[in-house]
């Protein structure tokens, strides 16, 4: 009898499933008073990006207009423009199929799929993306259904899990690429701080991600495949 093993992408995404669901629930709780029960769930399905959804919701709750809200969300997702080009070669099929497969990219799935040498693992990307999607939407449903009875993720410190997870991956990248990576990281941090001060919400991450372009000015980082 064949042994069934979970796809690798599901396994590596496991540590962040609970925080993702909790964040989705937090979104559901915040959005339900404004949008009702259906809209937040649809939004989580169509947009599939926590920060973008929170950004847009924030604008709407503060009384902002459609354009401002949509812009806030789109600006937040701009980082995926860059990541899209980076993961493109690992996908399969023609343009259209790759465009569809590229929808699996979120912060977490992108981070998990990286092999550390500039290439990305398609299986990890698609499976962790799918898993994140399931957790995110389920969380939103729970948040909408339970509303104020959902425990506060901030009280349980769950809001630090995602950043801590990203920090873990960052440290492994720093260890792998050392000087070029530390340099890029310092610039990315600096740009992120400046951008938070000067640019609208959501933009800082996307803009700071461009610090990777500094890599073009340096000698070839270690581990680069020719």
């Amino acid at each position: 009898m064949r042994e069934y093993r979970l796809p690798q992408g599901v396994v590596v995404a496991a540590p962040v499933l609970l925080p993702t669901a909790a964040l989705g629930a937090a979104f559901g709780v915040l959005a339900e008073p404004l949008m009702g029960s259906t809209a937040p769930i649809v939004m989580s399905c169509l947009v599939f990006g926590g920060s973008a959804q929170f950004a847009a919701l924030g604008v709407l709750t503060a009384g902002g207009g459609v354009t401002a809200a949509a812009l806030a969300g789109a600006l937040t997702n701009m980082r995926f423009l860059v990541t899209g080009f980076a993961v493109a070669p690992c996908l399969r099929g023609g343009r259209v199929r790759r465009a569809l497969e590229g929808q699996a990219v979120v912060d977490t799935s992108f981070a998990l799929a990286g092999r550390g040498d500039g290439t990305f693992d398609r299986g990890l990307l698609l499976w962790s993306g799918a898993t994140q999607f399931a957790a995110w939407v389920s969380g939103t449903v729970a948040g909408v259904a339970l509303a104020s009875r959902v425990p506060d993720p901030y009280a349980w410190g769950l809001d630090v899990v995602m950043p801590a997870f990203f920090l873990t991956l960052l440290v492994s990248e720093l260890r792998r690429h050392w000087v070029p990576a530390v340099t890029v990281a310092m610039f990315a941090a600096g740009i992120a701080v400046l951008a938070t001060l000067t640019l609208p919400a959501g933009a800082p991450v996307g803009v700071a991600a461009l610090a990777c372009l500094l890599g073009l000015t340096m000698n070839r980082p270690r581990d680069e495949t020719p």
Binding site: L60, L91, Q103, G118, T198
Partner: protein, 107 residues
């Protein structure tokens, strides 16, 4: 029409997000990354992770100044320590959560 404001946002943002994520793969097609751009792609995860961690430590204020989220900083500093000690992921995350919760409880 104000009752349907958020639906317009959801649809527009949904389409925009699809386009943003689709652009790279669609435009690249079956081509590979140009070799002179490889060093940038190599360091993209570094830049992105750094940005995400940095932003998590900040709380934006409407007046354009910065507020640091102390609880997150404490949690992430603890995580950094755990990482330096090469502890497994589960301990890193548990340490971060414990530190953040404790900090919020005592302040």
């Amino acid at each position: 029409m104000t009752a349907e404001k958020w639906w317009v946002v959801i649809v527009v943002l949904g389409i925009a997000t699809f386009g943003i994520k689709a652009a790279g793969p669609f435009l690249m097609g079956e081509r590979d990354i140009p070799s002179r751009l490889r060093p940038a792609v190599l360091l993209l995860p570094t830049a992105l992770m750094t940005a995400l961690v940095t932003v998590a430590m900040l709380r934006p204020t409407p007046s354009g100044s910065l507020r640091v989220d102390a609880a997150q900083c404490v949690g992430l500093a603890t995580a950094a320590l755990a990482l330096l000690l090469r502890l497994p992921l589960i301990f890193v995350l548990a340490a971060a959560v414990s530190a953040t919760v404790t900090f919020r409880l005592i302040t």
